[in-house]
Structure formats: structure tokens, C-alpha cells
């Protein structure tokens, strides 16, 4: 609470009387070790000298590009659908809202491979809706880049919805009420008051969503299949490389890791 705007002073205070209690510090350190250990394993195992050569391989580049572009598209789609959904859950009351919230978290709970099968059964060529898409428009989704994006949206959008809903619930509603009493309709209130107020929450949710989409494996390989250039994203390329050449798999994982960290840290810096 004291000196939020003056970090040096705060650091001085902490050293004198604000040392973090052991009961919090100890589990936190164990937590850090637990998260960092697998990463250390990856870094130690990495054949760094071959990384440059791998980065110029066209297959690696196309998988990396496919991963970045589909994850970004999936995040955009999730924002378009997920922010209004979060608003619906946080700001309106209607029967079955609890059930809807549980439904939103279903993709978080079910194994992604099962999610992929569910997508095949609904949007596949013989699926509930997919059957008609095929018959009426000649449109088949599986094994296309669009299917990669759909699989990612299915798995990653709940992260965005949960984050944004939390931000909406935490936001001060008095400004919205004031705007409403001054005659603003609900759309104006949402666009001019609510949205700017929860922008950091939306940003955090979008970053979470993007990261989850980037790492998506199970639903993608099941629903979209695996073909270089169209549906083989980096996680799929890593899995395939692991079958024959574990060293290549480590390099590919690190490339994905470094690129995603660079993007996330870069965005974080801009929002802070």
C-alpha cells in the first residue's frame, strides 16, 4: 500500500520490516523449482549448435508460422466471441446461467483428444453439423487449417472467458450505473465504460488464450490431422520428431518456447 509509485523506497521498507513470511516463501520457492525443473532439463539437453540450422529448415519455418498465425487467429476469434460471453455471464441474470458457466469450463476439464473426437462428431464430414456443411456447401472442415483454428478456439477460449468474467466481477460498477443514469444505453455503457475498465483483464485473458492455443496438441491432431504446411503446428512437429530424432524434438520445443516467451514478455511490457 505504501509507496506504490516509488520502488526503491518500497524495497528499503521490505528489507527492514516487510520480509515475506517463511510459510509463504517456502512453498513459493518449491513452486518455482517445480515449474523450472522440466525447463532446465530441456535447456541442458538442447544441442544448441544445431539450432541455427533447424531454424532455416523450411518445414520448421512453416510449422512455426502456422503455429503463430493459427494461435493469433484463434485468439482473435476467442475475443470476438468470448468477451461478450463473459459479459453475459457476469452482468446479466437468467435461468441456467450456472449451467452455462459450467459448460464454458468443459473444454478445460476434458482431455483435448476427447475434445478433438467431439469436434469430429459434430463438425466432421459425418458429424451433426458437418454433414450438412458438406451436403449444402461442399465444405469439409477436418484436415484444413481452419480446423486447427477451431480446435484451438475450443480448447483456449475458456481461459479468456474465465479471466474476463473475473475482471468484470471485480470492476467497480458505480461508473456503469452513473453512465446509465445519465442516459447511456447498455451498448454504450459496455463500449465506453465497461470495456476500458476491464482492458487489462482482457489482455491477460488473451495472452493466456494465445499461449494455450500455441501449445495445443491433442484436439488439433485428432480433429485437424497432421500434414506439413496445412495442419502440422509446432507441437505436432515436435511430437513427430520425437518418434525418430529426440534431439530435433528438443530443438523444436525450444524454438517454440523462446518465440512464445518473446511475444508474451513483449506484450506484457506494453500493457504494464
Amino acid at each position: 500500500m505504501t509507496g506504490e509509485s516509488a520502488p526503491p523506497a518500497r524495497r528499503g521498507l521490505r528489507a527492514r520490516r516487510g520480509r515475506p513470511p517463511w510459510i509463504l516463501l517456502l512453498p513459493a520457492l518449491v513452486g518455482i523449482a517445480f515449474l523450472a525443473l522440466p525447463l532446465a532439463g530441456l535447456l541442458l539437453r538442447a544441442p544448441w549448435t544445431t539450432m541455427g540450422a533447424r531454424l532455416t529448415e523450411p518445414e520448421v519455418l512453416s510449422a512455426l508460422w502456422l503455429s503463430l498465425s493459427t494461435a493469433t487467429a484463434a485468439t482473435a476469434l476467442s475475443l470476438l466471441l468470448g468477451v461478450p460471453l463473459a459479459w453475459l455471464l457476469a452482468r446479466t441474470g437468467f435461468p441456467g446461467r450456472r449451467l452455462l458457466r459450467a459448460l464454458v469450463t468443459v473444454p478445460l476439464v476434458i482431455p483435448p483428444v476427447v475434445g478433438g473426437v467431439a469436434l469430429l462428431l459434430s463438425l466432421g464430414r459425418n458429424g451433426l453439423i458437418g454433414r450438412h456443411l458438406d451436403a449444402w456447401f461442399g465444405l469439409t472442415l477436418p484436415f484444413t487449417t481452419a480446423a486447427v483454428v477451431i480446435a484451438q478456439v475450443f480448447v483456449a477460449m475458456p481461459f479468456l472467458v474465465v479471466s474476463v468474467e473475473g475482471a468484470l466481477r471485480g470492476a467497480d460498477r458505480r461508473y456503469e450505473e452513473a453512465a446509465a443514469t445519465l442516459g447511456a444505453d447498455r451498448t454504450t455503457v459496455f463500449a465506453r465504460i465497461t470495456l476500458p475498465a476491464v482492458l487489462p483483464g482482457i489482455g491477460a485473458g488473451a495472452a493466456l488464450c494465445w499461449a494455450r492455443a500455441l501449445g495445443e496438441f491433442g484436439a488439433t491432431i485428432t480433429f485437424a490431422g497432421n500434414f506439413p504446411g496445412t495442419t502440422q503446428t509446432m507441437p505436432l512437429a515436435v511430437y513427430m520428431a520425437l518418434q525418430r530424432d529426440p534431439e530435433a524434438a528438443v530443438v523444436l520445443s525450444l524454438i517454440l518456447l523462446l518465440v512464445s516467451l518473446a511475444v508474451l514478455v513483449g506484450l506484457r511490457g506494453r500493457w504494464a
Partner: protein, 265 residues
């Protein structure tokens, strides 16, 4: 689905050395009459090994057989990273060689049966199509047609290597819509009707019941796979493990294998 998480090579080497030392110690002890036998096997062996596990447990009272099935390559990677197992059965000889060179085979067993494992079954490829064959697939050449959506195994896994051998032998170039991570994934996509055809093993078609139809093609025997089995260096029950291999190579074993669509050497 296991996310890739490789381990440092030095640790693997240490573990392999430790396991070798362990087996060297246990060689002098009395053979264990009972215990748990861990068998890792290629996904295509699921039904055969499950049936044989029951037979094995009846013949060796007090013994429990634990079976784990996955793509041969994934299993080989697990074994070479120190996964505890007594027996490994692979869908091709290349993958067995990876294990023989990595974590290693049980030395005494390998001296008797061969350093590359013992071949106990063969399998050939068939074209699998959804019931009714909607795309009217007739032979391997039909799959080269761009209007026939085809699923193949990825070249990195054994069934993909067999697929490449078959298409090369037939002089056919197929552009699949997807390269699946194992043969059962190809079968699933065919059974769901998401693709018009896929190349799978004869045994997979036998196991699928009526969910898919099988179409043979000339030269499929040339693209056959040899299935080797071996007792692993990491075993703590080498005698029990050797008994499992003997059962597999016996008449009982080949009977079960033949019923499932396998050929026997």
C-alpha cells in the same frame, strides 16, 4: 497424449548402467516363480497380447502381466529414457534396433535369441475404407486420385515406413490429407468416415469388426512388417520374461496371432 519431455542423456546412460548392474546381480539368484511382468507392445498387438496375458497368468499362477500399448517409437523412447519394463514387442525391426542400441537387451537372452530380438509375427498392409466404400476405392492407384481423401501413417512411425515401401513398390504417389501418429488413428478416421481410405495393417481390419472394410492389393506382402520381441536389459524377472517370449513363439502363440490376422514366420 504424452507431451514430449525428453531427459538429459547422461542420466539415461547412468540409469541404463545401473539397470545392467542390477540384472547382473539378480542372475545368480533363484528364478522367481511369481511376480509382475511388464510388457510394452506396439498398438497393433493390443488384442493378441491381451488374450495371451490371460493364458500366461493361468500357466504361471501368482504371476501378473501388466500390458502397455502405444506406438512402437513412443515405447522405444520411453524404454531408452529408463521406463521400467521386462519385455518389448515392436512393430518393426528398426525400432527394436533403437532399443537394442539404447537401453539394451538382456545379455543372456540376446545371446541365445539374437541381438536384434526374435521375430514372432508378420503383418501386411491393407486399404481400409468406410463400410460401403463410398469413394469406390479399388486398389492402391485409386488413392492417388486427389478426390479420394486418404489418411496415412506419418513416415516417422513404423506403419509409415511400411506405407512408403508399399507405395514405392507399386509406383504410386499418394498425397494424404493427414499423416497420423499411429495406425489406430488412421483406422479411427476411416471408421468415422472422415477420410475415404487409409492404409492400415490386415490385423487392424480384423480387429475393427465391421467398422471398416479391407481391400488387399498386389505387392502388399512386399511391404510387410516383421514384429520382433525381446527381453530388456532392465528386467528384474529375466526367466519370466523369457517364458513370455517362448509362449509367443509356441503353437498357442501363433494360433492366437493367426486368428488376429498376423502371419507367423
Amino acid at each position: 497424449m504424452p507431451e514430449p519431455r525428453p531427459r538429459p542423456p547422461r542420466r539415461t546412460a547412468l540409469l541404463a548402467a545401473a539397470l545392467l548392474a542390477l540384472t547382473a546381480c539378480s542372475a545368480g539368484q533363484d528364478p522367481r516363480a511369481e511376480g509382475t511382468l511388464t510388457v510394452l507392445a506396439a498398438a497393433s498387438l493390443t488384442d493378441v497380447f491381451t488374450a495371451l496375458a490371460g493364458e500366461f497368468e493361468t500357466r504361471n499362477p501368482g504371476t501378473e502381466v501388466e500390458l502397455a500399448f502405444a506406438g512402437s517409437s513412443a515405447l522405444a523412447a520411453q524404454i531408452n529414457s529408463g521406463a521400467p519394463a521386462d519385455v518389448f514387442a515392436s512393430a518393426d525391426t528398426d525400432t527394436m534396433a533403437l532399443v537394442a542400441d539404447g537401453a539394451g537387451l538382456e545379455p543372456a537372452w540376446a545371446a541365445e535369441h539374437g541381438a536384434a530380438g526374435a521375430v514372432f509375427a508378420t503383418n501386411t498392409l491393407r486399404i481400409a475404407v468406410p463400410p460401403g466404400n463410398p469413394a469406390e476405392v479399388a486398389d492402391l492407384a485409386s488413392l492417388a486420385d486427389a478426390s479420394v481423401a486418404t489418411a496415412l501413417c506419418a513416415p516417422e512411425v513404423p506403419c509409415g515406413a511400411a506405407t512408403a515401401a508399399a507405395t514405392d513398390a507399386a509406383g504410386v504417389e499418394i498425397t494424404p490429407v493427414t499423416l497420423e501418429e499411429d495406425v489406430r488413428a488412421v483406422l479411427t478416421k476411416v471408421a468415422l468416415g472422415e477420410v475415404d481410405a487409409g492404409l492400415v495393417y490386415a490385423t487392424d481390419i480384423a480387429a475393427a469388426g465391421g467398422a471398416v472394410e479391407g481391400i488387399g492389393f498386389p505387392g502388399s506382402a512386399a511391404a510387410g512388417n516383421d514384429y520382433p520381441v525381446a527381453v530388456l536389459a532392465g528386467t528384474d524377472t529375466p526367466d519370466l520374461a523369457a517364458d513370455w517370449v517362448d509362449l509367443l513363439l509356441s503353437e498357442t502363440g501363433s494360433g492366437v496371432l493367426t486368428d488376429a490376422g498376423f502371419g507367423t514366420p
